[in-house]
């Protein structure tokens, strides 16, 4: 990669994950070639964007951050006003050629903004900057909650908070914040939608509602458990192929994977994810400046949240929220967002290589 500055190691891991994703999507769709073709197109678009972004200097993102942040807010307001209703929630913006979920982009734009806001600040962070950062996070999160999309709102919030964490908030403030957040739980519960509450409740006891909200969890845990150590083999997952397992090629694709490839496959997948995280953290630690560090750390964090929230949900330890399994689930918006994120990561990496030269 002489002319194209792309991080080879990151690229190899990304490609490996996406190949796994294609194979599982093919199986989950019951052998539908059109699904694979559609996903290949999205992967192509995503990779192209990633490589393009990787060529830019990190300073570019620094300068662009406020503009992007405003643009992201505008998109969210546009969804509020003119969005398409899909599956009972207003999340989509119809761009003519494709439908897009602006809330996805927020997962990248919000940490970008916070990273810019908090980089080059005195240490430890005075509380006024902290309050400013929290306000910047709250704006998009509230808009996304209104769609309503609890999963994405939580992820956006978490990605913003991750930047604050990396930026050097004092341990004592953090402990206080966590305590406050816990105290807020009853208030949040009050504002939650019925379906969201039901998901949390059924998590405690899935069998209480075997045909309603608990059904997904029961079916997906059976799928995972029946996979055993070695799995039933590719395309042989009977459980996952049942019509019951909803969203079997999107949010619940991990159940299909676990059923067909077993614990061995799951561990291999987790290791792949871990390798990606390690490489990301390495890039962040050695980044050239504070902004690059925070940004890289945030990207790694978002990615990690995706993985944990999705697998946790499918394995029945976290409530069901609509979060895809990164790079594996069928679907465009989150894939493109993630690859854009890795593009930024590569850009930061390229920048530090120039420093060391």
């Amino acid at each position: 990669m002489k002319s194209l500055r792309v991080d080879g190691l990151l690229l190899v891991i990304l490609l490996a994950l996406m190949v796994v994703g294609l194979a599982v999507s093919y199986s989950a769709s019951g052998g539908n070639v059109a699904v694979v073709k559609g996903q290949l197109v999205r992967i192509g678009i995503g990779l192209l964007l990633m490589v393009m972004v990787a060529q830019l200097p990190p300073h570019f993102f620094y300068r662009l951050a406020p503009l992007l942040f405003l643009f992201g807010l505008l998109l969210l307001v546009a969804v509020e006003l003119a969005g398409d209703v899909g599956k009972g929630a207003q999340r989509w913006l119809d761009l003519g050629i494709m439908r897009f979920q602006p809330s996805e982009l927020s997962k990248l734009i919000v940490p970008l903004m916070i990273a810019r806001y908090l980089s080059e600040r005195p240490q430890p962070l005075p509380w006024i900057y902290l309050a400013g950062a929290l306000l910047l996070i709250a704006l998009p999160v509230v808009l996304i909650l209104r769609q309503p999309d609890l999963g994405t709102a939580l992820l956006v919030m978490a990605s913003g908070l991750a930047v604050i964490f990396f930026a050097g908030i004092s341990w004592r403030l953090m402990a206080t914040g966590t305590g406050l957040a816990l105290a807020m739980i009853p208030v949040v519960w009050h504002f939650m939608h019925d379906y969201q509450r039901r998901r949390v409740l059924t998590l405690m006891d899935p069998s209480s509602d075997p045909l309603g909200a608990g059904y997904h969890i029961i079916q997906s845990t059976i799928a995972i458990g029946s996979g055993g150590v070695y799995g039933k083999g590719w395309m042989n997952g009977t459980q996952a192929h049942l019509d019951f397992l909803p969203e079997s090629s999107t949010d619940f694709i991990f159940a299909v994977f676990a059923e067909e490839f077993g614990l061995v496959g799951c561990v291999a997948l987790l290791i792949l994810y871990l390798l990606l995280l390690l490489r990301g953290l390495q890039i962040s630690v050695t980044a050239g400046d504070g902004f690059g560090r925070l940004m890289a750390g945030a990207i790694v964090a978002i990615f990690f949240f995706y993985v944990v929230v999705n697998i946790g949900m499918v394995a029945g330890v976290l409530p069901v929220v609509g979060v895809p399994l990164p790079l594996i689930s069928y679907g465009g918006s989150s894939l493109v967002t993630l690859l854009l994120g890795f593009g930024v990561l590569m850009a930061i990496r390229n920048d530090q290589k120039m420093w060391t030269k």
Partner: protein, 607 residues
């Protein structure tokens, strides 16, 4: 100085960040470990539990297709209904040896090669747990045999289905159309989720045009099945939403009269209400039994239909393009009156008919149907007696392009917009059309025969009925339709003076009620007034020489003239406009006109 401070600061920041990153990494490792433990519990510790659950997990989401909406006539009489029928289906993944099973089933009930081929085709497309129909329309006896022996076969299902049936058989074949088994191609046109579990799709006619309305919304039920696929209990049941019924404007009684009147002759009949455009009868004859297609027609029976010389599958009403012949004369007459060109000016214009017409300086004689001529006559006489020579002259006076423009206003040469699948547009020739299409100039001789609706002219029965309705309403826009409000096409009303309309309508009334009218035979014993026009369209252009010999009698049936009749009644307050075409029926007066009379009689007696 400043630079150095920044560097120190930077290094400090860097160290803090490193600590934070390591803390984060530790957190990541802990969470991943927790995930691993969860997976280990699911996949190793509790493997047996989940493996058993998976094997015995026979909760199935089964689609319940909606009941298709009924199709009725204007009085609510059912034209397309659903009748219960039993079908035998197999679930591929629950069958052991398919060939053995098919052989054993074959000893109990009839299973054809086609059934098996279709089963294989669907099995290749579907998923292994979706039941696939092997045989439908099981007889009572077959159902009993299967029920008694059912325990011997794994993966077999007996389902009560609702299957489309057309109680009137061929009568509405070209109107209501039919449904057939849904194909991969049909599925591409619709939302696949809505059509899961749906086995039939409207293939033609109203069934096809209103497919989405008639279809309804499917629903699901959750059932628990044992390892052999037998249903243990139903856990949840949705309610499919029945398709919306469609009420047509047609009248079963009138349709029956029309079909009966045609008997074994091929032809097309359209009757519509001028004021609304509502079609009261639409018959294309001969037809076929649409029920054959619901069951899956055998290829031999289908070949027979395809090869039938009378073409029963062909919709003559919307797609049959016939030379309109003399039925075009009232419209051309009106064009003449409006153009005010001497021949037709008022009732004073006269022409002498010696039985033939010649263009200046040409040899060829264009004959009138009356060999020895009508003598002197005006426009009204010419419509009443259908004199050809008058219209030869009128056409030459008018010229082909003005004729084209005028006929076009009545909807000739364009689809009527009836929502019933493919519709042919017929043809109204013009000099521009001929140059574009044939690359030749227009010849005056062609204008001559266009004057009597021959030559290039063609029209569908539907166009004729519509144009007749427009005439009956003195130029108002008429939109033929089968379902209230379905035809949105708007056409310009035809403008003509009151006296022109009256002249033509009076002439058409005299066609039926006048002493010399060509359709006077149907004007007897009648208590209302009909305005009509006969037409006898040549299928086979008799050369002059043959014409001289008057050898019509020896011409085979296939080459005989088409008989046409257009009419509306009552003349003062038109309630029904009719177009009748009888293929190779001979003359309009003797064959087509009496059919129209039967329609009117029935319609007015049953209003």
């Amino acid at each position: 100085m400043i630079r150095r401070e920044a560097l120190i600061d930077h290094r400090h920041d860097s160290r803090r960040y490193l600590i934070r990153a390591l803390v984060a990494l530790a957190g990541v490792m802990v969470v991943l470990l927790l995930l691993f433990i969860r997976l280990y519990f699911l996949q190793v510790v509790n493997y047996d539990h989940y493996a058993t659950a998976s094997r015995s997990n026979r909760l199935r989401l089964e689609v319940m297709p909606p009941v298709r909406g009924a199709i009725t006539d204007r009085h609510g009489e059912l034209l397309a209904v659903n009748v219960p029928a039993f079908s035998l289906s197999l679930v591929p993944e629950e069958i052991g040896d398919l060939d053995k099973l098919l052989a054993e089933l074959g000893q109990l009930i009839d299973i054809t090669e086609a059934d098996i081929a279709r089963f294989h085709e669907q099995r290749d497309r579907g998923r292994p747990f979706d039941a696939i129909v092997l045989r439908s329309h099981l007889s009572e006896q077959e159902r009993a045999l299967l029920a008694v022996n059912g325990h011997r076969f794994n993966g077999m299902r007996l389902d009560a289905d609702s299957v489309r049936s057309y109680p009137f058989g061929p009568l509405f074949a070209h109107l209501v159309g039919y449904v057939g088994r849904i194909s991969a191609k049909d599925l591409q046109k619709v939302d696949a989720d809505r059509y899961r579990g749906t086995r039939f799709y409207g293939k033609s006619g109203i069934e096809n045009v209103y497919e989405e309305t008639l279809h309804g919304e499917n629903s699901f039920r959750v059932v628990e099945r044992n390892a052999l696929g037998r249903e243990l209990r139903e856990l949840q049941r949705g309610v499919p939403q029945e398709g919306a019924p469609i009420q047509l404007t047609v009248d079963v009684g009138l349709q029956q009269v029309a079909a009966a009147a045609l008997g074994d002759q091929a032809g097309a009949i359209v009757a519509l209400e001028p004021a609304t455009g509502a079609i009261r009868a639409l018959v294309s004859w001969p037809a076929f039994d649409p029920n054959l297609f619901v069951r899956g027609i055998s290829s031999r029976a289908y070949q027979e239909l395809l090869n039938d010389p009378l073409r029963p599958l062909f919709n003559r009403v919307t797609q049959g393009q016939y030379p309109p012949g003399s039925t075009l004369k009232p419209f051309i007459g009106l064009a003449g009156l409006e153009a005010d060109n001497g021949i037709t000016s008022g009732r004073n214009g006269r022409v002498f008919c010696p039985g033939w017409f010649q263009l200046d300086g040409r040899e060829r004689k264009y004959r009138c149907w009356k060999r020895h001529g009508h003598g002197p006559l005006d426009l009204v006489d010419s419509i009443v007696q259908s004199c050809d020579v008058f219209f030869y002259q009128l056409a030459i006076k008018l010229g082909i392009d003005p004729i084209h423009d005028y006929l076009t206003r009545f909807g000739f040469g364009a689809p009527t917009g009836l929502n019933l699948g493919r519709e042919n547009r017929g043809l109204v020739p013009s000099s521009a059309w001929k140059r574009a299409k044939l690359g030749e100039p227009w010849y005056p001789g062609e204008t001559v025969i266009s004057g009597i609706g021959q030559g290039y002219n063609s029209a569908t029965a539907l166009q004729l009925a519509r144009a007749t309705a427009v005439l009956a309403l003195r130029g108002k826009d008429v939109r033929p339709h089968l379902v209230a409000g379905e035809n949105q096409r708007v056409t310009q009303p035809v403008k003509a003076t009151d006296s022109s309309w009256s002249t033509v309508i009076d002439a058409m009334t005299a066609v039926v009620h006048g002493s010399r009218g060509t359709a006077r035979a149907i004007g007897n014993d009648i208590d209302y007034q009909i305005a009509g026009k006969t037409g006898t369209a040549q299928v086979y252009q008799l050369s002059q020489a043959e014409d001289e010999k008057e050898n019509r009698g020896v011409i085979s049936k296939k080459l005989q003239d088409h008989a046409l009749f257009i009419a509306f009644a009552p003349v003062e307050t038109p309630e029904l406009a009719v177009a009748v075409i009888v293929e190779n029926g001979g003359s309009g007066s003797s064959t087509a006109a009496p059919i129209a009379r039967k329609l009117f009689d029935h319609y007015f007696a049953n209003q």
